[in-house]
C-alpha cells in the first residue's frame, strides 16, 4: 500500500467465460480499490452474475487473471480457499442452510472455517445479527422467516466472516417489493462504513445513493464504467441509454429513496 493512493483490492483482467457456445464474459477488465463500492448493472444475460461468481470461484474463468488482495485465483486449492475467506457472497435466493437456525447459520462458518470456539462464534454471530436487526429471531429456522428477514440473515452471515470484499448477486431480486427496502437499508449502512462492495443489482436508487462507480455490462462486456451522476445523467452509449430507459420506467415504483 502506497501513501496517498488507495490499495487495489481486486484486479480482474481479460477474463473470459463460456458456457458451451455461449460467451458469458468476453474479456472483462476491472480494478476495484479498497473501500470502493461498485454497482454492476445490465440486461439479463449480460454476464454480471457470472462476473461476481468468477471472483470467488463459483465459476471458473476460462482465460484471464483474477487477483484478490494479492492472491491470484489459479488451480491451487489453497489460493481458492484463501480468496473465499477474503470475500463473502450474498445470493439472490439467500441460500441459508435450512437445517440450521439463524444464529447457527452464522456460527457455522466461524467454527468450521475460522476455527473460533463455540462461545466466541455465538458472541460474534449475535453481534452481527444485531447489526441486521435480527437478534430476536436467532433461534428461528430459515423456513420460519420472511424473504427479507432471510436475506438480512444471509448478509449477517457474510459479514461475520469479516471479509475484505462483499459480493452481492442480485440480493433483492427474489424479494417482494415491501421487503426490498429493509434489505437495501442494511446494505446502505454497510456502504457508509466504507466496506468494499461489488453489487449486482437493478436498484438504481441504491446505485445513485452509495456507488462510487456504476459498471454497465452488456453481452459479456463492460460497456460503461462511470460515477453514478455521470452514468445516470449522461450515459455515453446507446445501449446504456436504452437500458436505463427501460429499467427506470419499470422499477421506479420500488426504488428505495436515496
Amino acid at each position: 500500500m502506497r501513501e496517498g493512493r488507495p490499495e487495489c483490492l481486486l484486479d480482474i483482467s481479460g477474463v473470459v467465460k463460456t458456457f458451451g457456445r455461449f460467451r458469458a464474459l468476453n474479456g472483462i477488465t476491472l480494478k476495484v480499490d479498497r473501500g470502493e463500492k461498485i454497482v454492476i448493472c445490465g440486461p439479463s444475460g449480460s454476464g454480471k452474475s457470472t462476473l461476481v461468481r468468477c471472483i470467488n470461484r463459483l465459476e471458473t474463468a476460462d482465460a484471464g487473471r483474477i487477483v484478490v488482495d494479492g492472491i491470484e485465483l489459479d488451480y491451487d486449492v489453497r489460493n481458492i480457499r484463501a480468496v473465499r475467506r477474503k470475500s463473502a457472497m450474498v445470493f439472490q435466493s439467500f441460500n441459508l442452510f435450512p437445517h440450521l437456525t439463524a444464529l447457527e447459520n452464522l456460527t457455522f462458518g466461524l467454527t468450521c472455517v475460522l476455527g473460533l470456539s463455540r462461545a466466541d462464534a455465538e458472541e460474534r454471530g449475535r453481534q452481527y445479527l444485531t447489526r441486521v436487526h435480527m437478534l430476536e429471531h436467532e433461534s428461528k429456522y430459515p423456513g420460519q422467516l420472511s424473504g427479507g428477514q432471510q436475506q438480512r440473515v444471509a448478509i449477517a452471515r457474510a459479514l461475520t466472516m469479516q471479509p475484505d470484499i462483499l459480493l452481492f448477486d442480485e440480493p433483492t431480486s427474489a424479494l417482494d417489493p415491501e421487503m426490498i427496502k429493509e434489505v437495501l437499508d442494511v446494505m446502505m449502512d454497510l456502504a457508509r462504513e466504507g466496506r468494499t462492495m461489488l453489487v449486482v443489482t437493478h436498484e438504481m436508487g441504491f446505485a445513485r445513493a452509495v456507488a462510487d462507480r456504476v459498471v454497465f455490462m452488456d453481452s459479456g462486456e463492460i460497456v460503461e464504467d462511470a460515477p453514478p451522476e455521470e452514468f445516470f445523467t449522461a450515459p455515453r452509449t446507446e445501449r446504456a441509454q436504452r437500458f436505463l430507459g427501460q429499467i427506470l420506467k419499470h422499477r421506479s415504483g420500488t426504488e428505495a429513496a436515496p
Binding site: 463459483l58 473465499r84 445470493f91 442452510f97 420460519q144
Partner: protein, 365 residues
Amino acid sequence: MQASGMTAPRLPPAKAATGFWSWVRVGFFSSTGSSILTLVMAAILVVTLPPLVRWAFLDSIWQTDDPAICREASGACWAVVAEKHRVMLFGTYPYEQQWRGVLVVALMVALILASTVRRWWTPKLLMAWVAGLAVALALQFGGFLGLEFVQTTMWGGLPLTMFIFVGTIAGGMPFAVLLALGRQSDMPIIQKLSAGYIETIRGIPLVNILFMAALMFPLFMPEGVNFDKLLRAQVGMIMFFAAYTAESVRGGLQAIPRGQYEAADSLGVSYWDRTFKIVLPQALRIVIPPIVNDVIRAFKNTSVLVIIGVLDLLGGTMAALEDPEWTRYYVEAYLFIAILYFVFCFSMSQYSQKLEAELKSGRNY
C-alpha cells in the same frame, strides 16, 4: 319448467349417510360391479375361512411332546413350535448356553428401541451401540469367566440373524454414503470406481455374492490364511446392502439445491465440512423412506444365508425340521418364523412412517 319467479320446492335435508347399513351400502354395494365383487369375495371367504379356522384353532394341537398325538389330529400341530423352538431360535448353539442368546437378542432389541427415540440421537447413542455390540459379541463367543467358548460355526437362529442384520447396517450404511458421495464426485477415478462398484453389485444376485464369499474367496487366499465363514458372509451382506443403499442416498444428494453447495463454498468451507454438516443432514432426511425400505430388505435378506450353510433363523427352522418325527409340520414352523419376520419388518415400517410424519409436521427442520 315454470316461469321464473317460482322458488324451488323446499325439500327436507338429505339424510346423512350414517349407521351400519349405509356403511355397508356405500362400501360394498355402491354399484353393480361392486356388488358382484362383494358377493364373490364373500363366497371365497365362506369356502376358505371355516376350514382355515378349524385347522389353525379348533382341531389344532398346541402342546405335546408326542408327535403321535399330532398325527392323529386333523388340525395344525403348533406343538412343533413349542417342541422345537430352541433349535429354531438358536440353531446349533449349545443347549445349556442358549440363555446367552436370549440376552444377546434382548440387548440388541433394547439398543434398536433406544435408537428410535430422536432425542437420543447423540454421540452417546453411538457409544452405547459400540459397547452393547462388544458385550453381545463377548456373550455370544464366551471363553471367559467360566463361560464356554462357542465358535461361530455353532452360532445360529435369532441371535445370528440379529448380528448379521446389525452388522450389515452398521458396516453398510457408512459405506453406502461414501459410495453415493463418490458417484457424485468431480474426480473421474473416484466417480467411475463408485459407479462401477454399485452397478456391478446391483447386477449380481445376493445368493451369488454369498456363494462367492463362502466358496470362491478362500481359493484366492494364500494357504493357511482363512477368514471365518460367518465374517465372509457378513462382508458379502455389507457389500450388497451398500450398493443398493448408495442409490437411495444419491437420490437425497440430488435433491439438495446447488445454492447450498455455493453458500458453503463461498464461506470457504472444506469439502468434508460441507458434505457432513450441510449436505448430508439435509439429504438423509429426505431419503428416510427408501432407506428404511433398504433396511427392511436387509433384515429379510439374512434368510438367504441358509444357502451357504449358515444357520440363521430360517436355517435353524430348517434344521429343526430335520427331525423325522416332526418334519411333516413344516407349514406350522414356517408360519411361526414368518410371523417373527413380519413383526420385525412391520415395526420398522410403522416407525419410519411415524418418523416421516414427525419430520414433516412441526418446524421446517
